[in-house]
Amino acid sequence: MTIEEFMKEVLHIEEKYFREKGNRAAVVRKIINLLDGVWEDDSEKSSD
């Protein structure tokens, strides 16, 4: 995932949080999960 794509994803998470008045800690967790997912995808690709 490129930086631009990741940015868009983060903004979507923020938008959802903004609308739902969610918990900030949950937003932080979602960002980290997104990042971990990106890393896993990359490592899977590289191992392939």
């Binding site: 940015m7 903004f18 609308r19 008045k21 800690a25 937003v27 960002i31 890393w39």
Partner: protein, 660 residues
């Protein structure tokens, strides 16, 4: 979102049920209400209905109704709003019930629901109505769309006492979708702050063999960051104090202007006094002199004038009777010889005539006697003429002196008036001096804080470098470092995009506000939009002062500018259709400005609901479709009702406003 109809029941003084139907498509809905009748409370009812919170933290049920109830009885405050959103009809319903006990009432039940009508006319309740309404009209924006004009007017000029001050930046950023960027940047965060993604990732890093200090370093970095935050907050506070002191001093300087100080005025006053004393002295001397001259010469002067008159009379008489070339010797000779020059004998009649002529000739003639007298008197009289000329000149001089004295006295009066003003002026001068001293001290304090902040920044950066260096050789830590670096790049890109958008939106907003101000305000003002979205407003003399009316017009122009910007710009995440519910500050506006505001207001939004205590029938009379309501009130009984507007008698006759 288009509002169609609202029902309000038992909310504060609105005992019982009341209904308002709204106009849309740019047509106005007006609710008239005198001061204290419940306009602002009706306005805040919308906020409660949408978000379940009373903006003023008041008891929301009707107190008199509660008072008349028995213990155990319940009263329900409710609101129902019918609206259209994205082509679908909705009904929003909120209620809160309060149960009376012996001593007080407490909330016993509450609910909030939204029903959506689909294309087949079926009603379905939406899940999470709170989220749904936040999605349509975020509560952060409510200050804007439930617009309190007076609060806005003071807030726009950076008045820190305004309750909405902090919200202005938040609201504008939310409207333009920038809040999402701010939140994203904050939530990706950095190692120096807690509660963000980078910090959480960095906590996963492990200590190395030779150094078990990553946690200590992080802790140190956080501590320094917190210290820096406190210092930066102080700097911001000082900067804000400095800017208000500077603004105040500009106002004071304008008031003081080039006016003379009391000292200068007193000097001028004293010199005028001295000049008048001198003039009065000279006046008295001249009057004495004139008196003396008059005493000595007036009798001669009068005599001289009479002599002149007599001389004229005699000369005239002589001219009438005197024959040229005839003298007394010739006449006597002819009379003695009794013969005329022609040789004829002198008759009786001729003799009488000759004798008459003889009496008129020297040395016994009247004129001869007069000339003798005149010659005798001439020496004395010549002096009196000269004296009279001196008297005439002196009298002229006295008149000039009198004028000068009177002018000086007027000038002294003017100075006294100015001196009365200078009491204020001196207060201003003293305040300005005191402010200058404060500014000097604050600048020193700010410079000191800035040094400290910069020192903290250096330490934080060095600590972060150390932390990265410490962990870079470990595989697990290296991956975390890579993730952190990636997040930092994402954050920096977001920051860059945020700043670009912010600059773009700010320029657009400033342009739109300027256009609106130009259209609505008769006086010319230069408008600059500050970074916190407050306005710097000045006229061609750099004066920043505004009348209440001008501030109100500018608050209308501001909201118009925001809404126009929203229409014109490609703003993501934010809906563009909002109703505008205005608690309108038009009481300070003159009729010209009311006309100007109402000429442009319908263009702000496709739905405008105005609460007004002023009669604006004239401004909207061309529009027959304006829906109008009035609030009737019985203030003693704390009761109010909403009724359709019947006539302008509401504004002139109390019986037409009173709720019985």
């Amino acid at each position: 979102m288009i509002l169609k109809k609202v029902r309000i029941e038992n909310f504060k003084q609105f005992n019982g049920a009341h209904e308002i139907e709204f106009n849309a498509d740019g047509k106005l809905t007006i609710v008239y209400g005198f001061n204290g009748y419940g306009k602002t409370r009706l306005h805040s009812f919308f906020h409660w209905l949408f978000y379940g919170q009373d903006r003023d933290n008041e008891i929301i049920y009707n107190k008199p109704a509660m008072k008349s109830m028995f213990s155990g009885d319940e009263i329900t405050v409710q609101g129902e709003l019918t609206f259209e959103h994205e082509g679908k009809d909705h009904v929003m319903y909120r209620y809160e019930s309060f149960k009376k006990t012996d001593s007080r009432a407490f909330k016993s039940d509450s609910n909030f629901k939204i029903r959506r009508v689909d294309q087949h006319g079926n009603h379905r309740f939406v899940d999470n109505p709170g989220d749904y309404i936040e999605d349509i009209l975020p509560s952060e924006l409510s200050e804007y769309f439930f617009f309190d004009g007076e609060g806005m007017a003071s807030e726009l000029q950076g008045d820190k006492t305004s309750r909405n001050h902090k919200n202005l930046k938040e609201a504008v950023n939310t409207i333009f979708g920038l809040k999402l960027y701010e939140n994203a940047i904050r939530d990706i965060g950095s190692m120096r702050r807690k509660n963000n993604a980078i910090y959480e990732l960095s906590k996963r890093q492990k200590g190395t063999r030779d150094d078990k200090n990553p946690e200590t370093l992080r802790h140190y970095s956080n501590k320094k960051s917190e210290e820096k935050d406190t210092i930066d907050a102080d700097i911001e506070q000082i900067s804000s104090e400095l800017s208000s002191l500077r603004r105040r001093n500009r106002e004071l300087s304008e008031k003081i202007g080039n006016k003379d100080t009391a000292n200068t005025l007193n000097k001028h006053r004293a010199s005028l006094h001295r000049e008048n004393e001198g003039l009065e002295k000279s006046q008295n001397e001249k009057i004495d002199n004139v008196g003396k001259l008059v005493g000595e010469n007036l009798s001669y002067y009068i005599v001289a004038q009479n002599i002149k008159k007599v001389q004229n009379l005699i000369s005239k008489k002589v001219e009438e009777n005197y024959v040229s070339g005839v003298d007394s010797k010739l006449i006597k000779n002819l009379l003695e010889q009794d013969s005329c020059i022609c040789g004829n004998k002198i008759g009786k009649e001729e003799r009488t005539k000759f004798e008459k002529i003889l009496h008129m000739l020297p040395p016994h003639s009247y004129s001869s006697i007069f000339y003798d007298y005149k010659r005798e008197a001439e020496d004395k009289l010549s002096n009196s003429d000269e004296a009279m000329e001196t008297i005439r000149n002196t009298v002229k001089e006295l008149a000039q002196i009198e004028n000068q004295i009177s002018e000086n006295e007027n000038e002294i009066d003017r100075i006294d008036e100015k001196l009365r003003e200078t009491k204020d002026l001196e207060r201003f001068v003293a305040e300005r001096k005191e402010n200058e001293q404060k500014i000097h001290e604050l600048e020193k304090k700010k410079a000191e804080k800035e040094r400290k902040s910069s020192h903290c920044e250096t330490i934080i950066k060095a600590t972060e470098r150390k932390l990265k260096d410490l962990l870079k050789n470990d595989k697990h830590n290296k991956e975390l470092n890579d993730k952190i670096t990636f997040l930092e790049e994402v954050r920096d890109s977001l920051q860059k995009e945020y700043e670009e958008k912010r600059e773009l939106y700010k320029k657009e907003l400033e342009k739109n506000i300027r256009t609106m101000v130009k259209r609505m305000l008769s006086a010319r003002r230069h408008i600059e939009l500050n970074d916190n979205y407050t306005l710097s407003i000045s006229d061609s003399y750099d004066s920043t002062s505004l009348s209440k009316g001008q501030a109100s017009v500018i608050s209308f122009a501001y909201i118009g500018g925001v809404l126009n910007s929203l229409k014109n710009m490609d703003v993501e995440y934010v809906s563009k259709k909002y109703p505008l519910i205005l608690d309108a500050p038009i009481s300070h506006l003159d009729s010209d400005h009311i006309d100007r505001v109402f000429q442009h207001l319908p263009g702000f939004s496709n739905q405008i609901i105005i609460f007004s205590k002023e009669n604006i029938d004239k401004q909207v009379e061309a529009d027959d479709n304006t829906k109008k309501y009035v609030i009737l009130s019985n203030e003693e009984a704390n009761q109010a009702a909403i009724k359709p507007y019947a006539s302008s008698k509401y504004f002139v006759d109390e019986t037409h406003r009173r709720l019985n």
